[in-house]
């Protein structure tokens, strides 16, 4: 032994052995493929609950989630991430994935969402109505334009500018107050929750029980609000297509829709045709 390997090199040799020695073991460990659901950040709570439900129904099945901004998920799928289901917060990023031929089925809208304005419970800027967002010096946080909720927020602002009771320059004035363009809706929530920002635009469903006591909510008038349709679809070359179909069936079932509704989303039936 001592003749072949001098002692100074032992750590190198050991690390090489470690490197190659462990590689095959990893591949063999996971025989049952877990279901990989790529879903918009705003679905985190509702989908996690549905995932647990499916795991109870189908023993042995494991459901894994990748929650992020829809735009990020679309890029990941484009770059070859192994996904079974893609659930986007808007049509734009679903179309992006479909146009690249990365879907195995037609997208189905499974739930709707709407926007609200949140302020910290302490309300440091003393906002008492939506019109106050245009006052000078208010710190407003939005999601970036690439994020679905960011684009919806800008649409809502433009709609409000044309609504009775709002000034025509409401939207540009609020945009001037924007201090940060966050990369996903949950970051908007946390900036407001921590009272760093005075107000933010988020989905109604983002006011989860965990954050509700830190926030105050202002409704956006229905005439100016957007109804965001969430599409989901089976991804091409899904590693676990059967489980993916089971999950999507659960989401569309009456039970699944109830879960979504409980998390502040608008189920399909309640929303009409």
């Amino acid at each position: 032994m001592s003749r072949v390997i001098d002692r100074g090199a032992m750590p190198f040799v050991a690390s090489l052995l470690l490197l190659f020695g462990t590689a095959p073991a990893h591949g063999a460990a996971n025989t049952a493929k877990p279901l990989q659901v790529f879903a918009a950040a705003s679905l985190a709570d509702a989908f996690t609950e549905l995932g647990h439900l499916l795991e109870q129904r189908q023993p042995g099945l494991r459901v894994r989630f990748n929650f992020a901004g829809s735009q990020q998920l679309a890029t990941q799928i484009e770059q070859g991430a192994a996904a079974d289901v893609f659930a986007s917060a808007d049509e734009r990023w679903m179309d992006y994935v479909r146009e690249r031929g990365l879907l195995a089925g037609e997208p189905t809208v499974f739930v709707h969402n709407r926007l609200v304005v949140i302020v910290p419970a302490t309300n440091p800027a003393r906002i008492s109505k939506l019109q106050d967002l245009a006052k000078g010096g208010i710190k407003v946080v939005l999601a970036a334009d690439a994020v679905p909720v960011g684009r919806y927020s800008r649409t809502v602002l433009r709609n409000l500018s044309r609504t009775d009771g709002f000034a025509a320059d409401f939207a540009p004035k609020v945009m001037k107050n924007v201090v940060s363009e966050e990369e996903n809706v949950k970051s908007v929530v946390s900036k407001v929750q921590l009272a760093e920002a005075d107000a933010g635009f988020v989905y109604r469903s983002d006011i989860t029980p965990a954050v509700a006591r830190y926030l105050r909510e202002f409704e956006v008038p229905a005439s100016a609000n957007v109804v965001a349709g969430y599409p989901m679809a089976l991804v091409k070359d899904a590693p676990a297509p059967e489980a993916a179909k089971a999950f999507m069936d659960l989401v569309l079932s009456a039970e699944g829709q109830q879960v979504l509704q409980r998390h502040g989303l608008m189920p399909l039936v309640a929303n009409g045709p």
Partner: protein, 279 residues
């Protein structure tokens, strides 16, 4: 235990292992960069340079990382000197504290900064009373960069001070030089190569800072969107722009590290070294 006679003639398994490990590691480090460079043409990178978003981000990155490096130098070098030359109670705690930002996930650091310097944070409330607000400001970007860059300055500076010849410092003391004089006229010039390494490392770290910045200072073009944030945002909407920005950032970081690495061997510092007695 190794048999010295048998070593030189045949290449040992050990040297083969070193070669394999070295090749693997270098390929692993270089391949992603090569991939980036092959993805876009230099012309494309230059074309992107002209866009307002890129120019804003570039300017902001330069200004903030230079400011952050200056702060880290001014505050870090005295602490490094103290750690290299003194024993005091609680020194271990200070050492750990200084190293902590290096191992902390940057997002956690950004969140911790909010807890301290945010509007509702421990020190933030006092700052707010003075009319100073850090989150969502360019100053906040600098604060995040300083926090993350400190260990990269203190570490090399401390090692550099610690490796100085004690006899030179003692000689200065026997000539009744005050410690401040010794520090500025003996220790600082002699330790310069190590200090410059610290400047390069902390500067590069500031330039690349992402997680703490986006968490603490937010993301707004022109005021808090530095190059790494611009890359991240572009990555979600315009992949080609993201690649061009990445290449730009890569070239800048590479140049910075290479340039300052070459400096200590250059004539200026060489002459300084030559002047030092005993070398």
């Amino acid at each position: 235990m190794a048999d010295p006679a048998s070593r030189p003639p045949r290449p040992s398994l050990a040297s083969f292992a070193v070669l394999v490990a070295g090749t693997l590691l270098l390929a692993f480090l270089a391949l992603p960069f090569v991939g980036l460079l092959l993805r876009v043409s230099p012309r494309e990178v230059l074309a992107r340079l002209g866009s307002a978003v890129v120019l804003d981000a570039l300017r902001l990155s330069f200004v903030t990382s230079i400011a952050a490096t200056a702060v880290v130098v001014v505050l870090g070098i005295p602490v490094a000197w103290l750690l290299a030359t003194r024993e005091f109670p609680g020194k271990r705690v200070v050492e750990v504290l200084v190293d902590l930002p290096m191992v902390l996930p940057p997002t956690v650091a950004g969140f911790a900064l909010l807890m301290a310097f945010g509007r509702a944070g421990l020190a933030g409330r006092g700052l707010a009373a003075l009319g100073i607000s850090l989150p969502f400001t360019t100053l906040g970007v600098v604060v995040a960069q300083v926090f993350m860059a400190v260990p990269f300055m203190v570490g090399p500076a401390r090692a550099s001070f610690a490796s100085l010849d004690r006899k030179l410092l003692d000689a200065a003391a026997t000539l009744r030089a005050r410690e401040t004089f010794t520090f500025f006229h003996v220790a600082l010039p002699l330790a310069m190569p190590g200090l410059l390494a610290g400047v390069a490392m902390s500067g590069a770290r500031s330039l690349g800072e992402f997680g703490a910045t986006i968490t603490f200072a937010g993301n707004l073009p022109g005021s808090t969107q530095t190059m790494p944030l611009a890359v991240y945002v572009a990555l979600q909407s315009d992949l080609d722009a993201a690649v061009a920005l990445s290449v730009l950032l890569l070239v800048m970081a590479f140049g910075l590290l290479l340039g300052l690495r070459a400096a200590p061997a250059g004539s200026f510092w060489g002459r300084l070294d030559a002047r030092a007695p005993g070398r």
